[in-house]
């Protein structure tokens, strides 16, 4: 039997992401989960600065464009003041893990009761492709023109693994948007994160390996191939911290 499919109302608008950009897939999954959990009208997004900000153009829901890197601190405040609302921090790798690493880690460290979705496209997409803490070893960016030299920069950050092993968080996982199978798995992770928040279990993070065809200078299909062949071996997919009751 055929499956009925319709883009959720809160994001059923044209979006200005580049062709083949993963942001569009991820935001649809978040909105589908919110709809299924009946939270789509009970939601505040804390949007990071980056191509995540482009969401603002098509999203019909409460949201705040947060100071760069600080969306997890803003989400903390939102949830503490408005605990009945569902709060989603939506941030890029540059925003969450480089510029705002202190705020991001502190929210996880305190097990704040909100959900962060981190779009890891291994660069600062919006500003033309600079190196971030998740840029791969040897990856050429505008600020690592000879390829990232980890001797100087340190190694690419694995945030879900870090918080799962060091902090008492509710749920931590990494997914990818490379295939229907991976997208369906990612949706389950996002739903688990949101359910953890609704049940008051605490902090959840879902990182997504997501293509940035424009700055990677690859076609949309070859960008997905790069994730499969180059990123997933370094950034494994799966759940790093399972919810306690599951």
């Amino acid at each position: 039997m055929a499956k009925a499919r319709k883009v959720p109302a809160i994001i059923d608008n044209p979006m200005s992401f580049c062709p083949g950009c993963g942001h569009g897939i991820v935001i649809r999954l978040i909105a589908e989960c919110l709809e299924e959990l009946e939270q789509d009208q009970n939601l505040i997004f804390a949007l990071g600065v980056g191509c995540s900000s482009l969401l603002g153009g098509g999203l019909v829901t409460d949201r705040l464009h947060c100071p760069h890197g600080r969306a997890s601190a803003v989400a903390t405040g939102m949830k503490r003041v408005q605990p009945e609302n569902t709060i989603v921090a939506y941030q890029g790798d540059g925003d969450a893990y480089s510029i705002g690493i202190a705020e991001t880690i502190n929210a996880a460290y305190r097990n704040e009761n909100f959900t962060m979705v981190a779009i890891n496209n291994t660069n600062y997409g919006m500003t033309g492709g600079q190196m971030s803490w998740t840029t791969m070893p040897g990856q050429v960016t505008t600020t690592s023109p000879l390829g990232r030299d980890c001797e100087i920069t340190g190694n690419p950050l694995k945030f879900p693994e870090l918080v799962a092993s060091q902090f008492d968080v509710a749920f931590a996982a990494r997914g990818a948007v490379t295939s229907p199978k991976n997208i369906n798995k990612l949706k389950k992770y996002i739903k688990n994160g949101l359910e953890a928040q609704i049940n008051g279990e605490g902090y959840s993070v879902i990182e997504v390996l997501s293509p940035c065809p424009t700055n990677w200078k690859l076609s949309p299909l070859n960008s997905m191939k790069r994730i499969e062949e180059e990123l997933i071996p370094y950034y494994p997919l799966g759940v790093f911290k399972e919810r306690k009751e599951n």
């Binding site: 039997m1 055929a2 499956k3 499919r5 319709k6 608008n13 979006m15 299924e36 229907p180």
Partner: protein, 74 residues
């Protein structure tokens, strides 16, 4: 009756749906939309309404309705 709808104006010609369609029902048309992209077209005789194109599309181009209903869980 299952119906697949294509919002041509939203298509950015990325090709992700075409690459994953299990039945080769999708191709780019010869037309241009107002953004200058050649939007996808569906060969309805080949389409099995599986929804994979909806799943892959970053730009909300597809809708698949089943007996007049659309949306809902897996």
């Amino acid at each position: 009756m299952d119906v697949i709808t294509v919002k041509e104006e939203r298509c950015k010609e990325c090709g992700l749906c075409i690459a994953h369609c299990p039945n080769e029902a999708l191709s780019f048309s010869d037309r241009l939309n107002s953004a200058g992209y050649k939007p996808v077209q569906v060969d309805d005789a080949k389409c099995i309404k599986c929804g994979i194109c909806y799943t892959m599309c970053p730009d909300g181009v597809y809708e698949i309705s089943h007996n007049g209903e659309s949306g809902g869980e897996d």
